[in-house]
């Protein structure tokens, strides 16, 4: 190891070296510098560690941006081309999109702010230092805003480019829109951070819990009422298109409520595209004034609330502590009662014939850890819940689909959506399983179960759960689209094969590219193997859905050609075997090496 010069151990210049500066930077600037340096080191470390990963991520980003831009451009031109209705549709779509994204940003900011402010180790390092809580909050607020909003920026950049092109906007539309967006993202961040602090402070209070649940229930109730399906007869569709459209547009009118920040953004962007710059600037000024006021409050007045929130989170015993009868019921269940009798799950699994005790123990352990990790089941619930709601609503939509072409297209899009959801979950939760087991290798690895069986058990368990989820969803989709039993079987078999492949790919690559040092699944997934798995899964799904659609044995997308059908099926089977079976085989060899 190279020895440092004895005289000046800390004198080497770097980003933090301030020898030339007469004054010492303030704590906020120091935090900014340190964290920027951290990010820079992480990015450059990634580049040095794996050039392939850098290329892969780069290609993926460019590919996404290009594909999204093309689709948005085509879609906007298609919608804008409706005679007489095009401009109205475009306007309403923009308002609707930003209103929905505002709600999503609010949720995303709330979750990220809560985690970043109250569950972050940096906060606990900084609190005993001579850094005012206001400065810590300011830094964490900034960090949370960026973390919660980058995906939004990534999503809308191609859309707004396509929108500007469709509207033939002048060059200054693009920088002006960037300013509007930069202002806009601050407002959901402010609201999210404020709700996060209030939640941290008052979550165990009965009044807060009742109020939060009442507001949530009211929102669900109002949404169900407001968006209730509106029956449209064939005759109305033929003869009274404008009336039907008007009824549809009424449902989207909430997005044009003038006190919504998304309204100011949409109106500003649209005004600028139309050349109505004064009106656009007015909305820009409205956004700016709100950002300055609320942003100013966040930057200067939240320190004490934040500190009280940190203390409250650290001091919380039980969320249900204020509900005496619930607390008693919980105590009666006796988490501290001396009882080693098997629980319900264990007794249930014990009834499965031929399941060895060690495999049963492993399954039960994984199931319990999944159930007790709110993030895991929460994300699964959100992803598949949204898809279920969409599929359920297809019954209203499919009655108007008289053309079999659209039925077929929608059924394959549903297959794709379902598989993409599954791929997200397999990469997020199945891929890191083996790496996470690395930390617990002293238990599972040392047990006589053997690592190959551990791997196969995990594969079998995750595939079974995946099959239950995706199979049910595809059956629901086919039912709602009123497809015949033969097509239903075709789609179900397809998703079964895809579930096996995606789980095999995630389990296999998880073993082939383990990260045994890390115990944070998010960090394990963000490495080379996780990215590789995600990209392969995505490409596999796109290829499979295309092959299955082109090779469909039913007319609907064109003339059926048996040769083409067989070629497509064979390609699908080969691709599935290659991406599902091969990583598993390689992984089995790898775990044998681990054991020897």
């Amino acid at each position: 190891m190279p020895a440092e010069p004895e005289s000046a151990p800390l004198a080497a210049p770097g980003m933090l070296a301030t020898a030339a500066e007469p004054s010492i930077p303030g704590p906020f600037r120091l935090l900014l510098q340190v964290n920027l340096l951290q990010v820079w080191r992480k990015v450059s470390g990634l580049r040095q560690q794996s050039p392939l990963l850098t290329v892969l991520i780069g290609l993926f980003l460019i590919g996404y941006a290009a594909l999204a831009f093309t689709l948005f451009h085509k879609g906007l031109r298609f919608a804008g081309g409706f005679p007489g209705l095009g401009p109205v549709l475009l306007e309403r779509m923009l308002f609707l999109l930003f209103a929905c994204l505002f709600a999503l940003l609010l949720l995303s900011n709330l979750i990220i702010s809560y985690t970043n402010l109250f569950r972050n180790r940096e906060v606990f390092f900084l609190l005993p230092q001579p850094v005012p809580p206001q400065v810590i909050f300011r830094w964490k607020f900034l960090e949370s805003t960026l973390l919660a909003s980058w995906a939004f920026l990534f999503l809308i950049a191609p859309l707004l480019s396509a929108y500007g092109l469709t509207r033939e906007a002048a060059w200054h539309f693009y920088p002006a829109t960037a300013v509007f967006i930069a202002l806009f993202i601050v407002l959901p961040a402010v609201a999210g951070a404020w709700v996060a602090v209030a939640t941290a402070r008052f979550l165990d209070r009965r009044t807060f819990q009742v109020a939060a649940l009442s507001v949530a229930a009211a929102l669900v109730g109002i949404s169900l009422f407001y968006f209730r399906p509106d029956a449209v007869t064939d005759e109305e569709l033929e003869t009274r298109v404008l009336v039907v459209l008007d009824r549809l547009l009424v449902k989207t009118r909430f997005a044009q409520y003038p006190l919504l920040p998304s309204y100011w953004l949409s109106a500003g962007v649209q005004g600028w595209a139309d050349g109505a710059r004064t009106a656009a600037m007015f909305f820009g000024a409205v956004l700016l004034s709100h950002v300055l006021f609320f942003g100013g409050l966040m930057f200067t007045r939240m320190g004490d609330f934040f500190y009280a929130g940190v203390s409250a989170v650290q001091s919380r015993a039980s969320l249900l502590g204020r509900w005496g009868w619930l607390g008693k019921a919980w105590r009666r269940r006796g988490p501290d009662r001396w009882d080693l009798r098997p629980g319900f799950g264990e007794r249930l699994l014990g009834r499965v014939p031929g399941l060895p005790a060690d495999v049963r123990a492993l399954i039960l352990k994984d199931a319990r850890m999944f159930w007790r990790d709110t993030t895991q089941w929460g994300q699964t619930l959100v992803l598949f819940g949204l898809l279920t709601v969409y599929f359920m609503n297809l019954r209203h939509f499919s009655q108007q689909l008289t053309n079999p072409f659209w039925i077929v297209i929608v059924s394959y899009l549903n297959l794709g959506a379902c598989s993409l959801n599954l791929a997200t979950l397999t990469t997020r939760f199945v891929y890191p399983q083996f790496s996470l087991e690395g930390k617990r290798l002293w238990i599972v690895g040392m047990a006589p179960l053997g690592l190959p069986r551990v791997m196969l058990t995990k594969f079998a368990m995750t595939t079974t759960v995946s099959l239950a989820l995706t199979g049910s969803l595809i059956l629901l989709s086919c039912r709602m689209l009123q497809l015949g039993w033969d097509r239903t079987l075709y789609h179900t078999l397809s998703v079964v094969v895809m579930a096996f492949t995606l789980n095999g790919l995630a389990t296999g690559t998880g073993v082939l590219y383990p990260n045994l040092k890390e115990d944070n699944p998010g960090r394990i997934v963000s490495g080379f193997g996780g990215t590789f798995c995600l990209v392969l899964s995505f490409l596999y799904i796109v290829a499979s859905v295309l092959l299955l659609a082109v090779g469909s044995p039913w007319a609907g997308t064109g003339q059926v050609r048996p040769g083409l059908t067989i070629a497509c099926w064979l390609s699908f089977a080969l691709l599935s075997a290659l991406l599902g079976w091969l990583p598993m085989q390689l992984a089995r060899q790898r775990v044998r090496v681990f054991e020897t």
Binding site: L10, P130, V131, G321
Partner: protein, 251 residues
Amino acid sequence: MIELLNLVKRFGDLVAVNDVSLVVPRGEFFALLGPNAAGKTTTIRMLTGLIRPSAGTARIAGFDVQTEPLEARRRLAYVPDFPFLYDKLTPREFLRFTGQLFRMDDPTIEARARELVHRFNLVPYLSKTIDGLSHGTKQRVAIVSALLHDPEVFVLDEPMVGLDPHHARVLKDTLRERATRGMTVLVSTHQLSIAEEMADRIGIMAEGRLAVVGTREELRQRSGTSGALEQTFLALTEHEANFREEAEHAG
């Protein structure tokens, strides 16, 4: 100095710290002992300002941790059992950062770091990123960064975790020297040998209360044992548990 006045912390129905009062004068090495869940870490977290007490006051060098937090923190250093370090910084950058947080100028950081870095054998690691360092080396970086601003009060939670015998010795010697120069040291630990060897006074916590405080000799006399501190500790904690059980039955 450290002053804890009738400190109480409740987690719902559970009283984790129950009316703890303690004064650790300037230059004293105080060891806080106690079985698991005795309330040691909660007491330290209130002392360092990580959580608010339910009642009572904690003061560092005369400054109330809650009402004059910045004045108190300027005089405090705290190293938890698993300290947070920015993993993509080098120790050099981290030490500069913590020094600057305490408003130290470059020559002061340089002068104070030089001795500590050499003493804790960190010179070969100064330019490596922290994520590649061993647990013990990270612990040394955290200790050096904490001592950099020459704190008046140094609070450590299980400071020897991950340190090899050589660096454990270096830490003990450094703490003793600093205490002689006036730094107040409060160490929470399960390693009775540290308390036995280093502490001027020892406090034993049990079930949220500061059961006994005194020198080793005083504790021995009180427990009625002689010999190693382990016997004294076991006798006192057992006595405390029995006493509580009897009080509960009587109540």
